[in-house]
């Protein structure tokens, strides 16, 4: 047994991205996960917390406790970390627009428990760029948002030195369709924008910038093409080393290391034959672990059933065990870098580096990443890449087992349980959180709250670092919504370009060519029969910002001849119904990925009825379990599309038929 004597490397931090329903329920889950061998925490917050609203805000309806834990004030934070020693825990928080606030609650809680802030370690995601491009939980315009990021960096470098204040994310760019080259380029451009902003703030003395650069970490994705992905990570390391030396003059090579955490790809997980996701996840994990010199510092894996709904504790345990088997059973951690010296790997890395350099130059020539976002350039590039991927899946050029090939399957026992193989959130969670919040508002000292909020407002206006006044707010019992509202009043709110105005490339193949031609004929002739071209409203109700699906449907519908109204994200059901009325559309398509589809769709239908639009067909798309799809149909929804409906042509043909049926024309049936 040689291996027993061999010195093994220390494994990476093992986490599971989790949180749901309430601080109390999430705390129980965290403590079970830690008992199972997890070595760090990764907190998922619900959408109201991520976008700075209280649980009782009208926009929060149906979203409280859905995609993560609701944290409205310091007592929630206290409950979330009940019996968890903050000075010994490594806590990652997926939080962005409200990152300074959640970090303030964490620091405030530590202070209350008598723990020195220098003992805290963990990460706030705190990368707004990818929120504009993909994830959608931004609040403020780019200027103030970048300032808030710089504030947290300036503050933590001085007062919470073990904290990673920002995690530059290429993760969500890949989810939005980015190629490896785009991922490299845009993530590094983002890092430059952040560091340049910190430098410009003047809070760091000249010659003391290296520790700031050292605190910048990354959050990366790994897809199924694991050889290329592994090369991408080696390319990242090379380029970061070079960039931090040349641009920021970091002399100590240890401070130039590319430190990253990873969650492997969710985009490629499938709803059909969901058990196949297990091998996908394992292979993707290899991409970030094989090469010692480009190995992740922290790994969190999705669960096999993510494309179906929320994972249960057992599903998360399975994901954790995959990491443990790789780290503790295999011999991976006994060797140095096993890819060093491979000419194949070196050539691939070189190719990626060169491509990324070119795209970085391109973005810099446009004035940097912020300018390229404001102009819509990057969003257009990503929407185009994503469209290309979907077209390749539809044409069969890109094979996805169980989806567009090898669809034959025995019934999976994994999904046969009474819960359908997914987690159910507590339906009472929203009400309970609101009650708790309202009780909290009564119990706190109103004068202290007022004073703290005034301090926050003054800091926001003067440009003084936002952290000290936010920590004071946390200790005074200010709520997440109050913090968000105060800053909204000073900074305003932002609506970024949607990227759907991409020019049609006539040479690109839109799925199967003859089907597209047929679809265009159907759309045009149905429009003629109804007297005017078919008009579709694509709406995203609620706080969920994952707009990729909605955008792809909008672009595809336009490609086959629909006139498409797309209003972007974060709309109330009332706004959607109003748009449907004003625009005179033939159909409303709703996209909801946060799990709030029941509440939100019902509200939209109700608002449509109030406007005499009860006859208007409504369709819904998203991560919607079969059981809910049946309920939605009973409410009057004409069709529900889920990730298993991968063929856009089929969806479009069905949409035309739904419109035809609603207007007394016969269905035309499936495409030839």
């Amino acid at each position: 047994m040689d291996s027993l004597q061999t010195k093994r490397d220390r494994p990476w931090l093992m986490r599971t991205y989790s949180g749901h329903s309430s601080a109390k329920a999430s705390n129980a889950l965290y403590r079970t996960n830690l008992a199972k061998g997890q070595t760090g925490l990764s907190v998922a917050f619900d959408l109201p917390t991520q976008t700075g609203y209280d649980a009782d805000s009208p926009l929060a309806r149906g979203e409280v406790g859905k995609v993560g834990v609701p944290i409205s004030h310091i007592e929630d934070m206290d409950q979330l970390f009940d019996q968890i020693p903050l000075d010994q825990m490594n806590t990652a928080m997926t939080i962005n627009a409200t990152a300074p606030w959640l970090l303030s609650l964490y620091i405030g809680l530590a202070q209350r428990r008598g723990i020195d802030a220098t003992q805290l370690s963990g990460t706030t995601q705190n990368d707004i760029i990818k929120e504009y491009l993909s994830r959608g939980t931004y609040i403020f315009p780019p200027g103030p948002s970048m300032r808030l990021i710089a504030d947290t960096i300036n503050y933590t470098v001085k007062h919470v030195p073990k904290w990673n204040p920002t995690n530059i994310c290429s993760y969500h760019l890949q989810e939005a369709g980015a190629t490896p080259v785009q991922e490299l380029a845009y993530a590094l451009c983002t890092a430059m924008a952040v560091l340049d902003r910190v430098q410009a703030s003047g809070e760091i003395k000249a010659g003391e910038f290296s520790p700031v650069v050292e605190r910048i970490s990354f959050f990366v994705n790994a897809g199924i093409r694991f050889v290329e992905e592994c090369c991408k990570l080696r390319a990242f390391g090379e380029m970061w080393d070079e960039l931090t030396l040349s641009r920021y003059k970091v002399e100590d090579s240890k401070l130039r290391r590319f430190r990253y955490g990873v969650q492997v790809n969710s985009l490629g997980l499938t709803e059909p034959q969901p058990e196949n996701n297990v091998q996908r996840i394992v292979l993707e994990m290899l991409a970030v672990s094989l090469s010692k010199n480009a190995r992740a510092r922290a790994i969190q894996l999705p669960a096999w059933n993510e494309a179906m709904g929320l994972p249960r504790p057992w599903d998360q345990q399975w994901a954790l065990r995959m990491q443990q088997v790789l780290a503790f059973e295999t011999d991976l951690l006994e060797y140095g870098d096993i890819l060093d010296g491979s000419p194949v790997i070196a050539a691939k890395v070189r190719q990626l580096v060169e491509g990324a350099r070119k795209e970085i130059e391109n973005v810099e020539a446009q004035g940097g990443i912020i300018a390229a976002i404001e102009s819509g350039y990057i969003k257009r590039e990503l929407v185009a890449s994503h469209m290309q991927r979907l077209r390749a899946i539809e044409s069969g050029e890109l094979k996805i087992i169980g989806v567009n090939c090898f669809q034959e399957t025995a019934e999976s026992p994994l999904t046969l349980g009474s819960d359908g193989g997914i987690m159910k959130t507590n339906p009472a969670a929203e009400r309970e959180q609101i009650e708790r919040l309202q009780a909290h508002r009564k119990n706190r000292n109103a004068a202290e709250v007022q004073a703290a909020l005034q301090g926050l407002d003054a800091a926001a206006r003067s440009g003084e670092n936002i952290m000290p006044s936010s920590i004071r707010c946390a200790l005074a019992g200010v709520t997440t919504g109050e913090w968000g509202d105060s800053l909204r009043a000073v900074f305003g709110e932002f609506r970024p370009p949607t990227g759907i105005d991409i020019a049609i490339d006539s040479r690109a193949v839109l799925g199967k060519k003859d089907q597209v031609t047929e679809l265009r004929v159907r759309v045009a002739s149905t429009g003629e029969a109804l007297g005017r071209p078919l008009k579709l409203l694509v709406g995203k109700p609620g706080l969920d910002g994952h707009s990729n699906g909605a955008e792809q449907v909008a672009v595809k519908a336009r490609d086959v001849g629909f006139e498409v109204v797309y209003d972007g994200i974060r709309l109330t059901p009332q706004q959607i119904a109003q748009a449907a009325e004003e625009e005179g559309v033939h159909m409303v398509g709703l996209s909801i990925l946060s799990g709030s589809h029941m509440e939100l769709v019902e509200s939209v239908l109700e608002e449509l009825r109030r406007r005499d639009l009860a006859q208007l067909p409504v369709i819904a798309g998203g991560i919607i379990p079969q059981e809910d799809a049946t309920k939605l149909a009973a409410l009057g929804v004409s069709a529900v599309y889920t990730p298993k409906d991968f063929s856009f042509n089929t969806i479009m043909a069905d949409m035309v038929d739904v419109i035809r049926e609603a207007n007394g024309l016969g269905r035309l049936g499936p495409l030839p």
């Binding site: 109804l530 001849g561 797309y566 009325e581 005179g584």
Partner: protein, 332 residues
């Protein structure tokens, strides 16, 4: 089945004049409907909304300019100001369609850019695709503006100004506002081309850029008067910033001043009648060609007939259509 769903035009007109939102929406759908039964009802609806009031009430403002000039954000800032002043606003936002061989679809993204965050009963936005019509602005825009004028204080038609579009917008708005982009040669090129009627008001957006905006403003100021078409109007150039929300009130003052100028000179009704005639001729020509126009006596004769009923040309248009159709049939 479909026909049964068409609304009664006269009843609809009453509800539109009462400013019922559902009626406005339904009226716009009807005007967009090309089925024969719908066309006749459209004509009746427009006739019911016509009359002296239609030539004198409200203010129809066309906003155009090159892509990237920030038209939508400016329109958004303008709407905010109008709403604060208690004026109701209808918006027709026109976006390009893809070419017919590429499906002819369209992405209408303007609502995102011009919408105010909160729900507002006094604001109504309809987006339209230009449907590949030469000249850019869809034929539907004129009758739809007519309908909106019947129930909103201000009606804004927003188009992307590329190539020929401005020709059309000049045939629609009481007041045409050109939104210029600082430090770009587009505006000057456009003025120099001299082939078209120039806008009544210029808004140089992004004035927060400072010097480049001022430079563009003074260049326009120097070029505009040379194109003089209406002797007593001064063609103001206004520096605005949609993002900083500055200059909007001044811009509105120019709009109001231009409207007063037209009304005082007795031009407002004439202008609208002329725009209406231009529209009638255009739709007839589009549908029947020059041959069809000749069948009812040619352009001059059509012009005379329309002049006799300046306040209600839609009905006249429908009659001309019917005449052309019956002559087509009898010439078989």
């Amino acid at each position: 089945m479909i026909q049964a769903q068409l609304p009664d035009p006269e009843q609809l007109a009453v509800r539109i004049l009462r400013r019922e939102r559902a009626a406005v929406a339904s009226g716009l759908n009807l005007l967009d409907n090309k089925l024969a039964a719908a066309r006749q009802r459209s004509a009746r609806l427009l006739a019911a909304l016509s009359g002296e009031r239609a030539l004198n009430d409200g203010h129809l403002i066309g906003v155009t300019g090159p892509p990237g000039a920030g038209k939508s954000s400016l329109v958004s800032a303008m709407i905010r100001e109008w709403r604060l002043a208690g004026r109701t606003v209808g918006v027709l936002a026109v976006d390009p369609s893809s070419r017919p061989e590429l499906g002819g679809g369209a992405l209408l993204g303007d609502r995102i850019r011009i919408k105010n965050a909160s729900y507002d009963e006094g604001l109504f936005i309809r987006s339209l695709a230009n449907r590949n019509q030469l000249g850019g602005v869809a034929t539907e825009v004129w009758p739809m503006s007519w309908l909106m004028l019947a129930c909103f204080d201000i009606v804004v038609v927003e188009t992307v100004g590329v190539g020929q579009t401005e020709i059309d917008i000049a045939e629609i708005g009481d007041t045409v506002c050109y939104v210029a982009q600082p430090a770009s040669g587009d505006t000057i090129q456009y003025l120099k081309s001299g082939i078209i009627e120039i806008p009544d008001v210029f808004a140089v957006n992004k004035s927060d850029l400072g010097a480049p905006a001022q430079k563009t403003a003074s260049e326009i100021g120097r070029s505009a008067p040379r194109q003089d078409r209406r002797d007593d109007w001064d063609y103001p150039v206004c520096l605005v910033s949609a993002t900083m929300n500055t200059g909007i009130q001044q811009l509105h003052a120019h709009f109001d001043r231009h409207r007063s100028f037209l009304a005082a000179a007795g031009l407002l009704g004439k202008l609208r009648a002329r725009h209406q005639s231009a529209w009638v001729v255009r739709v007839l020509k589009e549908e029947f060609g020059t041959f069809g126009i000749e069948l009812v006596g040619g352009y001059a004769q059509i012009g005379r007939r329309l002049n006799e009923t300046p306040s209600n040309q839609f009905e006249e248009c429908e009659q001309l259509r019917q005449q052309i159709i019956s002559r087509f049939k009898s010439s078989d």
